[in-house]
């Protein structure tokens, strides 16, 4: 196998500035590991990648790959290292494949090996091997303009890996592809990263990328890493509304009740107590009595909420103090896959999904008063750090 032997882990501990925007990062990616970086637009993802790739110099800190320092800048008079992009051996693949349009597919892939001093025929042989590995060997004599988007991205991956990078940076590589193509490419990237053991950072909007490919996920927010941990933990118990929205779950923040639940204040002053069942969901941590009064949050899926009419449930207003239950006024209705998503005036941050048939039966309309019950088994709670 012409596998690439990645030399070592990436250690990135730096601050970087672009205009008035500052990004601070502290992360480590091991050999054979894929770290997903998620964050909203403008959170600093591209600045992070640009600093590691060498298109931007850090204002302080260090970027180390194995035993090589790619960049170092100490505060004050310390030594400054800023290795040129061409000497970093960092492969960067973005949303656009950016194939060289004046070269055919084979020459595109052979570009890296040739630029690194290999002979023409050796480089072509190498390129052909990589094209076979990404399943694009039959495209070798085509021009980039003759390829579909998925084919171009396939070739771009081969080209990136043929340059034998010791670190792979993937910047939303599936964003421009249609769903089936993205799924195929996701599988291919997963296989290649596993085979080559190249440490990889994948920047993405799509939690699916993180779930399928990554071992750990980092959440970037306002230039800082807001959360970093195993994917299941980060997505299962998001620390910020952004991650919650990304993961498609509700994040309710409040205070620990002391009896294992979280009390969340509604917009009308009412209190919603969210108490998980004995089983603690992914990423959750039980809240002991000692936590009472501490800031805490509960997470549950919008589909884990049961909606019923007030009268039918025999509910009086006083019952609203029951755990995992609130009486709400529908404020917003919007289509959701397979049904309707609604929010209430009392808890505008909590989405509730229900199937279309149920929505029709309930005669949903803005202003309707309904009872909302969250399944205890699907609630996970955590004390805030």
């Amino acid at each position: 196998m012409t596998g690439v032997e990645a030399s070592g882990a990436l250690v990135a501990e730096f601050a970087s500035e672009r205009g008035a925007f500052r990004v601070e990062a502290s992360l480590r990616v091991e050999r054979g590991e894929l770290l997903a970086v998620l964050g909203p637009n403008g959170s600093g993802k591209s600045t992070l990648l640009a600093t590691i790739a060498g298109h931007l110099a850090p204002t302080e800190g260090v970027v180390r790959l194995g035993d090589r320092e790619l960049a170092r800048r100490d505060g004050g008079a310390g030594a400054t290292i800023d290795l040129p992009v061409a000497e970093r051996r960092v492969g960067l693949l973005g949303q656009e494949s950016l194939l060289f349009r004046h070269l055919d597919v084979l020459e595109n892939v052979a570009f890296g090996p040739r630029a690194q001093g290999r002979g023409r025929s050796a480089a072509r042989l190498d390129a052909m091997t990589w094209l076979e590995r990404v399943g694009a060997a039959e495209l070798s004599r085509r021009r980039p303009a003759e390829l579909s988007g998925g084919q171009q991205q396939r070739v771009a991956i081969a080209r990136t890996l043929a340059a034998r990078p010791e670190l792979l940076l993937l910047d939303e590589p599936f964003a421009a592809l249609d769903v089936p193509t993205a799924a195929t490419m996701r599988r291919l990237i997963g296989e290649l990263c596993a085979q080559t053991a190249t440490p990889t950072i994948l920047v993405t909007h799509d939690p699916l990328d993180a779930i399928v490919l990554a071992q750990r996920a980092a959440i970037l927010h306002d230039g800082r890493i807001a959360q970093l941990g195993p994917v299941a933990e980060v997505l299962g118990h998001p620390a910020t509304p952004f991650v919650a929205a990304l993961a498609g779950v509700n994040l309710a923040t409040g205070v620990a009740t002391g009896s294992g639940g979280v009390a969340v204040s509604g917009a009308d002053g009412s209190l919603l107590r969210l108490v998980p069942s004995e089983h603690v969901g992914d990423g959750g941590r039980p809240l002991g009595p000692a936590a009472a009064g501490a800031p805490a949050s509960a997470v549950f899926s919008p589909a884990a909420v049961h909606v019923s009419p007030l009268g039918e449930a025999g509910a009086a207003a006083s019952d609203s103090m029951m755990a995992n239950r609130w009486i709400g006024t529908v404020s917003l209705l919007q289509p959701a896959p397979g049904g309707v998503r609604l929010t209430t005036e009392e808890h505008p941050g909590l989405a509730v999904d229900l199937p279309g048939a149920a929505a029709v039966a309930l005669e949903l309309r803005p202003g309707a008063r309904l009872a909302f019950i969250v399944a205890a088994a699907e609630i996970s709670v955590r004390e805030h750090a």
Partner: protein, 281 residues
């Protein structure tokens, strides 16, 4: 692999089934006058021509000498422009906004300057009593009124065409491909040779044609800086001027020589079109 076919199919068929946005009738008149302004003088030139005198005029030793001198000097000037202009275009394209604006203004200046002024400026720099002229004279180098002066004058007036064309092309291509190349481990020189240059190829080609055409037609700066010596500095435009002023030759000769320049210009345009057809997309 059926994805490629629609691309090829639509490339030629864009006009089919699509209504062209109509041109307002009022605008057709100035457009027609415009094309007449450009074409009628050349038609008149053809009509004025005494065709029986053409063979003699264009094969006369003076005409052949002038044409070969023109082609040779314009060719050398174009090569000089390529060697100086492409690096200059790269520097401007990669410079910061302010530096680029200053450099671009400097490059554009000879373009908007009357060529006669360019000739005087070249004399002021390289003439016998010029800024560098005296030091050059001490070294035994005399530039004015030599064939070298013709080339220098042509470079002075033609270089801006090449630089502006190539620089525009470089800006359009951007630096993203170069960044990819560097990421694959290519040195800056390799990136320039294997990516930048081929990617701006069409711009270089267009710039070269404009540059060569401008050098071929150069008159004002040449007349002042290089003079009008048959066989040494008398290029086609100067030969036409000389013939037209009737220094022993008829006006017909001037017209016939002009026709030769028109023919050369058309040939250059055709060659460029031919190259463009199979140029990489």
């Amino acid at each position: 692999m059926t994805e490629a076919t629609p691309v090829a199919a639509t490339r030629r068929g864009t006009g089919v089934g699509r209504r062209v946005s109509p041109v307002p009738g009022l605008l057709v008149v100035p457009a027609a006058i415009g094309i007449a302004v450009l074409a009628l003088p050349l038609v008149a030139l053809l009509l004025r021509l005494d065709w029986s005198a053409v063979p003699e005029a264009v094969t006369s030793p003076a005409a052949v000498q002038a044409l070969s001198l023109s082609l040779a000097t314009a060719g050398v000037a174009t090569v000089c422009c390529l060697l100086l202009g492409i690096p200059l275009a790269l520097v401007i394209a990669r410079a910061g906004r302010r530096t680029a604006a200053v450099l671009r203004a400097l490059v554009t200046l000879p373009l908007v300057l009357p060529p006669l002024v360019g000739g005087i400026a070249l004399l002021a720099l390289l003439g016998r009593t010029g800024l560098f002229g005296e030091s050059l004279a001490l070294l035994g180098v005399r530039l004015p009124f030599t064939t070298a002066a013709v080339v220098i004058a042509q470079v002075f007036v033609a270089l801006p065409f090449l630089v502006i064309s190539v620089e525009g092309s470089m800006r359009a291509v951007g630096t993203r491909f170069e960044a990819v190349g560097a990421g694959l481990g290519a040195s800056p020189l390799t990136v320039f040779r294997r990516l930048t240059l081929p990617l701006v190829g069409p711009g270089v080609l267009a710039g070269t044609v404009l540059c060569f055409a401008r050098a071929l037609g150069e008159f004002g700066a040449t007349a002042l800086f290089a003079g009008n010596t048959a066989g040494v500095t008398r290029t086609m435009p100067l030969a036409i001027y000389t013939a037209f002023n009737g220094a022993g030759v008829s006006e017909d000769t001037a017209i016939a020589l002009s026709l030769m320049l028109v023919a050369v210009a058309i040939a250059v345009l055709l060659v460029m079109r031919g190259w463009r057809e199979d140029a990489p997309r």
